[in-house]
Amino acid sequence: MTATSISVRDLTLNFGAVSVLKTLNLDVAEGEFIVLLGPSGCGKSTLLNCLAGLLDITDGEIWIKGQNVTWAEPSERGIGMVFQSYALYPQMTVRGNLSFGLKNARMPQAEIDKRVARAAEILQIGPLLDRKPGALSGGQRQRVAIGRALVRDVDVFLFDEPLSNLDAKLRSELRVEIKRLHSRLNNTMVYVTHDQIEALTLADRIAVMRGGIIQQLDAPQVIYNKPANLFVAGFIGSPSMNFLHGATVDGGNAFELNGVKLSLEGYEGGAVGARAKAVLGLRPEHLEIVGAAEPGRTIPAVVELDEPMGADSLVWLQAAGAQMSVRVPVERRLARGAEVHLRVDMTKASVFDAGTEERV
């Protein structure tokens, strides 16, 4: 890892009696792309606003590029920020929007022109420079908003759900653009979203948040394959992970539910131990529909319906008292009511303690 760009230490934020962020710690390496992901109200935007200096924190410290910026003004923190609603100043032209911050910093006009030109070139908004925001489309506005962060020539970019107001097509276009921008500028980016596709595609590391606490901070693949707890497991992935409630038996070597016993052989979490209440998490693509039962490896199931989704198809089944989904190739059609068996790929499964909800 390279040098630390952002360091959040024991950050606490209370609104009156309500605790919004709880002793939060986060280190972001230089050039890293961090995504803060979570349902609304989890504190992700709040954390971003704290990083930007737009909210005064209750306790803790924030360091950016080796400087303690806990009480520094937003403009003194060396950050640029992009907002969900674009937040372009309606009465200024695009050029005015881009140069407003630089003028506030009393930068010479020549330098301002140079930077605006560069940003316009990178974002391909040159022809729009003399228009007012009202005359731009949503996608164009967001490019200008990104440009406004760009001209500041800072090391840290903060994105607050920048693509949420765009339609699906533009969203995926701009997503790619942001990724390209990151690889070109190679600066630190902190990106808030509730969209897991954005998170999985963009992030070097994802911080999944809930209730003001970072639940898991890891690379996307780790988050996806080895969720730290039930919440992360359920939140990431679409359709979401199947959860089977049962117990670990045989000294932790098997999982049992409704009389069906599955061997935990090959489970990557290591020794599980015996637990009276445990949850087995299985992603739809890690299950396979087979015709015959294999003791310790399959669960009997009854097909309820299938959902063709283009490239593949999702089959919903009733298995051992729980509803489960399985991803299958789209050609494979299953009749309703068909009795089948589901083979579990235990190497990709997750086992959680039902009490602590932690992965074991």
């Binding site: 609104f15 009156g16 309500v18 709040t46 909210l55 005064d56 410290e61 303690n68 806990t70 009480w71």
Partner: protein, 297 residues
């Protein structure tokens, strides 16, 4: 280290704090200070000049045994409720009418709004005149061949409040109509489409869907109208001087009379205190609803 940082915190957003000084001073010195001052002196027997000569609750005992004060309160209650309901109700109705894609909307609106530009003194005077039986409506209608016609609300103690109401509504409804109209225009057009698809009659859409959606508008209007009613003074003085007899006396007049005519400041302040208290009783639940339930951030 955290300590040193914490210490510079009061100087953050220094300009915002400086800018708030006028407001803080006004609220603390004038509104809070003035109120406390008034309350303090309401426990004294100050006459022409405020003197700290405490007499306990004497002024209040006298206040509540004074039939004029009781009449004033009763008048304000009657006038206030009627005025509030009618101003808001008529204002809303007019706004609904104005929202029917009518022609000459600007003209109608100007016509309804212009009285708001005139002072209560003028309003009271003009209506006193129009309602004067020897000059105004009664005179004219009798001249038209209805000699038995009687319309003289200001000379009769039982009707004088309605005479005031006619003038008060004339001055105030246009403004309320404007606010309500603005509120109606702010409602998403899709709501109307949805209601029509659901086959809800127009009146019901207004009553069940639109009015609840306009809650903030109604609250703002309520604050504006109610604050005007409690302060009611000029209109009464100009139109009836509190008469006939004491039939249209209101608390603000009582306060004024005791402070400056009767030269019994203590009594005037006691009456003021009761008025302020009643404002607080209304305002505290409002503030609680406005700020207590809402989370920030």
């Amino acid at each position: 280290m955290a300590g040193t940082l914490r210490r510079i915190r009061p100087f953050r957003n220094i300009y915002a704090k400086i800018a708030a000084i006028p407001m803080v001073l006004t609220t603390m010195v004038v509104f809070v200070g003035g109120t406390l001052w008034t309350v303090t002196y309401s426990f004294t027997n100050s006459k022409l000049l405020p003197k700290l000569n405490f007499v306990g609750l004497d002024q209040y005992e006298r206040l509540w045994s004074n039939s004029l004060w009781l009449t004033s309160i009763q008048n304000l209650m009657i006038f206030g409720v009627l005025s509030l309901v009618l101003t808001m109700g008529l204002g809303f109705l007019l706004a609904v009418l104005m929202d029917q894609k009518i022609r000459y909307e600007d003209t109608f609106r100007t016509v309804m709004l212009y009285p708001f530009a005139l002072s209560f003194i003028v309003t009271g005077l003009v209506w006193q005149w129009i309602l004067n039986p020897d000059l105004g409506i009664q005179h004219v209608v009798r001249g038209l061949g209805f000699p038995a016609f009687e319309f003289d609300p200001l000379s009769n103690p039982d009707t004088v409040l309605y005479g005031l109401l006619i003038a008060g509504l004339w001055q105030g409804t246009g403004f309320v109509m404007c606010i309500m109209l603005a509120g109606l225009r702010g409602i998403d057009e899709d709501i109307w489409k949805a209601a029509r698809v659901d086959g809800i009659p127009t009146w019901k859409t207004y009553a069940v869907i639109i009015v609840p959606m306009m809650r903030p508008v109604f609250i703002t209007t309520l604050v504006l109208v109610a604050s005007g009613i409690i302060k009611l003074y000029d209109l009464v003085v100009a139109q009836t001087s509190g008469g006939p007899g004491n039939a249209s006396q209101v608390p603000a007049m009582y306060v004024y009379r005791y402070m400056f005519t009767a030269q019994n400041l203590g009594q005037g302040f006691a009456a003021s205190t009761m008025m302020l208290l009643s404002v607080l009783i209304v305002l505290i639940p409002w503030a609680y609803l406005e700020f207590g339930g809402k989370k920030r951030g």
